[in-house]
């Protein structure tokens, strides 16, 4: 999976770094039916997501299928300097992992 379509931004504000993320993922609930075949569309969602900064996990998330399609997340990192890296890694319920990284601006 290309990481180009995922977006991750980290901007310095007064007193914190605003981290904003937009991933591309269908987040299927497993309750929807295909309009043509009438078959249930299998549940497919991001289960775990971790945000790392300075080699440590700063935020760790567990998600269900109630998070919207193409998940958006924003949070405030307290101690971040410009030029440092922020990495977000996630795993979906099919066991596939992906990573996206950015530098603080």
């Amino acid at each position: 999976m290309s990481t180009k379509k995922h977006k991750l931004l980290a901007r310095r504000k007064s007193g914190y770094v605003q981290v904003r993320m937009l991933l591309r993922h269908p987040m299927e609930t497993g309750n929807r039916r295909d309009k043509v075949t009438g078959l249930k569309i299998p549940r497919f969602f991001i289960q775990e997501l971790k945000c790392e900064h300075r080699g440590a996990v700063v935020l760790s998330c567990h998600w269900g299928w109630g998070v919207s399609r193409n998940p958006y997340l924003s949070f405030r990192l307290l101690n971040g300097e410009a030029g440092e890296q922020i990495t977000i890694t996630w795993t979906d319920n099919m066991g596939k992992s992906s990573t996206v990284a950015t530098t603080i601006k």
């Binding site: 609930t29 996990v57 935020l59 998330c61 919207s68 958006y72 405030r76 990192l77 307290l78």
Partner: protein, 155 residues
């Protein structure tokens, strides 16, 4: 002398271990596996019982947990929500929605590196309540907000 120092460092280590585990932020829970039990509950009541181990009526309501959201939304499949916790030692934030087949939407495990202000977008099965549940060192607190969804749910 050497033996004494060894003993001392041993004691310090075990004290550290106790402090760290009591602190909670970096305990094994942070790296725990996806909590299947809570995501498969089908009512708010059972979800709260799974998460906190106590019935929802015993849960404390706090105005220091805030849900920032539009009270009327058009599209139930993407409802922007911001949860702000002004409680000290906020460890975990849960977002629940009572109109969804499975009410637990997300769990966020905080560290001291993060300010407890989390924004996301969630699905709502229809007009109903969003509940923010916060775990602190002093127990669980929650707040809820009713939302009117004018068109379509999460399907």
């Amino acid at each position: 002398m050497k033996r004494r120092e060894l003993l001392k460092s041993g004691i310090m280590l075990s004290v550290n271990a106790i402090v760290m585990s009591g602190f909670g932020f970096y305990s094994s829970k942070t790296f725990a596996a996806w909590p299947k039990r809570i995501f498969y509950t089908d009512t708010i009541e059972s979800a709260i019982r799974e998460i906190t181990g106590q019935p929802s009526r015993e849960l404390q309501i706090s105005d220091r947990v805030k849900i920032e959201v539009d009270k009327i939304v058009e599209d139930g499949s993407t409802v922007p929500v911001t949860i702000v916790s002004e409680l000290e030692s906020t460890k975990t934030i849960y977002i629940l929605s009572d109109k969804n087949p499975n009410p637990v939407i997300a769990e966020y495990q905080m560290t001291t590196e993060i300010s407890p202000v989390i924004s996301t977008r969630i699905k709502m099965g229809g007009s109903g309540n969003i509940l923010a549940l916060v775990e602190t060192n002093n127990g669980y607190y929650h707040t809820s907000q009713s939302i009117k969804v004018t068109a379509g749910g999460c399907a």
